[in-house]
Point group: C2
Chain length 401, copies 2
């Protein structure tokens, strides 16, 4: 029988608290769950006996005897996580409390379609599991992030603009060939938001995570939970108009922020600057490799290339302009900026910030914190692990919020 | 002793369910609260004995004996509600289950400052109470809506652009002179959202209410609750930019949707059309009364005036353009449109809709419902009553959600 079956409401609440805090003392559980010490002790004893929690190491005590830290039992098994981006993928094996045991990232093109890409993901999962000395039956749950809108209930992509071949494809069924564990699929930036929420131990209630790469997406945390919208497409900010007279986007409209400021637009503007003589530095890159990436623009900017600086500033300003509307509407406490194109130099974040502060209302920006995502590049797989574990706990019953 | 003191968690849950549904049978309570019939019967018996609930009328039964409808006991007292707009106010006395016993609306100018306006509100409250044969001590709670950002905890306005003299003014202290009942203050459009949420018996989880009058604001319902943001300024959509080359707004920026499409902008464009000979119909109005209101534009449009039609269409298109960004970001199931300027003819809603469907992603609009606020002009005071009663119930303990 699964150790997860038939948990009481108290047990689920304690398990959930320990999970979201990445480990807790009994006193902290009591405080967080608003339970009496007696109730916590009895509940924890049951969870230890069932092998769901374990005691690990010692915490620094505020006096008296040292309380043991409770954490999800590593003996339960491992989580598999995959973060599929438009141009790369990352696969990881994690402990139930989100420690990365093994991971691997490589370039990949989602437009190649689900068959090829997922067979590579499954091969990597098998390889990494073997590296950790684990078997497929040790897998508790699997979390997958994809760069498109997902119907969260069915786990299927719905009309994904970047990956049309994936429309209605069942990632779950594909993985079922190798694993009996449950598979949870979500949009990549929702998973980044999930990861940051876990890192913050759910201490922030209302914040945004912006991912800037081939596209531009936004993860929304509202009332302390990831918000997916009525049809799972919430946060689809890449097609917000920033210039009614701007260039035509792949979606058919004019002046979408994605068409003017995401990775491909930056690369295109850099190519133009190389060809029209504005930037000898970018021209040299183009001559040497035949193609310019946003990373080349970042490097040229660091070396003082004026054209690259202008391209970066313009992208930051346009994205900030889009975010100014969102900040007026949503009034978040924090905006975390992440994704492949983000770290193209301090000018980017500076102009993005300036644009938000200029266009948003004072009340919305007075305490607004705009920074890079603290989890950085691992945010995707950690978020996928958080999703997998959170949904596994949640599936066992109602958790008192 | 207050009848509200020392309620158990079960009692609060039942009370809350009955309140949000505007009356419920015992069976429906059991279903909604996920309680056993035995638990519901015992809890209801206690609430009836304490005078918090009463049985009222008979419900149509699905067979067997007819179940009594439970509702909040009218003997508890009444709610006072006030909805202060930029150019008018509405005061009402309501039963605990939101039936309007008496109400009065009149023109008023919030810029006259809080002293004058609130003394008028207090006079009206006293008058309406007397009309209903009630005394100040019969008042359970008071709900007030104001057209600006509110710090919900303190109940004070924060930097309200339309009413600078109200900044940090304590409406609560002012009303305390007449009433010992608790006073809850919120932004006017949040209250409209609260009212619609109650009308819907909380059956929709994620929707927006847009108010278009002197300004443009948005009430947000997220995960089934009104969302106020990190600083209470969520929904401040009036200063979202719809044209970087547009006219300067009072906030200092260019092309805010409020400066281009709210009541004053419509009146200004109509005055221009009257003066430059584009519209003989509007010129006649201007000649006769010296001023043109959005209602005059509505009337001229109904009479076939081409200039008025163009003004209305342009306003709808610009507001729809702003909403397209919000719909992409938030993916609501419904957008309800209300406020004084809204009902200026079918062209307005048609062009607003067209603009949203044109600019938002297909996935976000596929099931999107855009309609006028069903509660209409009474939405504000009903929402203020909902706020007052909801917060009064909530203040007595934790309600299981």
């Amino acid at each position: 029988m699964s150790p997860w079956a038939d948990l009481s409401r108290s047990e689920l609440t304690v398990l959930d608290s320990v999970f979201w805090c990445g480990g807790l003392s009994r006193d902290a559980v009591a405080q967080r769950a608003a339970f009496s010490k007696t109730r916590v002790n009895a509940t924890v004893a049951g969870l230890l006996a069932q092998g769901l929690l374990e005691e690990a190491g010692l915490q620094v005590s505020s006096g008296g005897r040292r309380p043991e830290t409770l954490r999800l039992n590593h003996g339960l098994g491992v989580l598999l996580a995959a973060d599929l981006g438009a141009t790369g993928l990352e696969v990881a094996v994690l402990t139930p409390d989100l420690r990365v045991l093994a991971s691997h990232g490589e370039a990949a093109d989602v437009r190649r379609g689900p068959g090829l890409l997922l067979s590579r993901v499954r091969a990597l999962m098998a390889e990494l599991l073997a590296q950790c000395g684990r078997k497929p039956r040790d897998v508790i749950a699997i979390g997958i992030g994809v760069p498109g809108p997902v119907d969260f209930e069915t786990g299927q992509l719905v009309n994904p603009p970047l990956m049309p071949e994936w429309d209605s494809f069942s990632i779950r069924d594909d993985l079922r060939a190798d694993y009996s564990a449950p598979v949870f699929v979500d949009n990549d930036v929702n998973l980044m938001a999930m990861g940051e929420l876990w890192r913050l131990q759910r201490s922030l209630q209302n914040f945004l995570v912006i991912k800037i790469g081939t596209g531009i997406g936004c993860g929304i945390v509202c009332h302390g939970e990831v918000y997916r919208g009525a049809n799972g497409s919430a946060g689809d900010v890449g097609h917000i108009c920033v210039d009614p007279h701007g260039p035509r986007c792949t979606c058919g409209n004019l002046g979408c922020v994605e068409a003017m400021a995401a990775g491909p637009a930056i690369a295109q503007q850099a190519t133009d600057a190389a060809l029209n003589g504005e930037s000898p530095m970018l021209a040299a890159v183009l001559g040497e490799r035949g193609v310019i990436t946003p990373q080349d623009v970042a490097q040229a900017s660091r070396a003082g290339d004026a054209a690259s600086n202008a391209i970066i500033q313009r992208a930051g300003t346009l994205i900030g302009q889009m975010l100014a509307s969102i900040v007026n509407f949503f009034n978040p406490s924090h905006v975390f900026i992440g994704g492949g194109v983000t770290r193209i130099g301090p000018l980017f974040l500076a102009s993005l910030r300036q644009s938000i502060y200029h266009r948003s209302l004072a009340l919305s920006t007075r305490h607004l914190d705009i920074q890079y995502t603290p989890l950085g590049e691992q945010g995707g797989v950690i978020g996928a692990g958080v999703l997998a574990m959170h949904e596994t706990i949640k599936a066992r019953g109602v958790i008192a919020s």
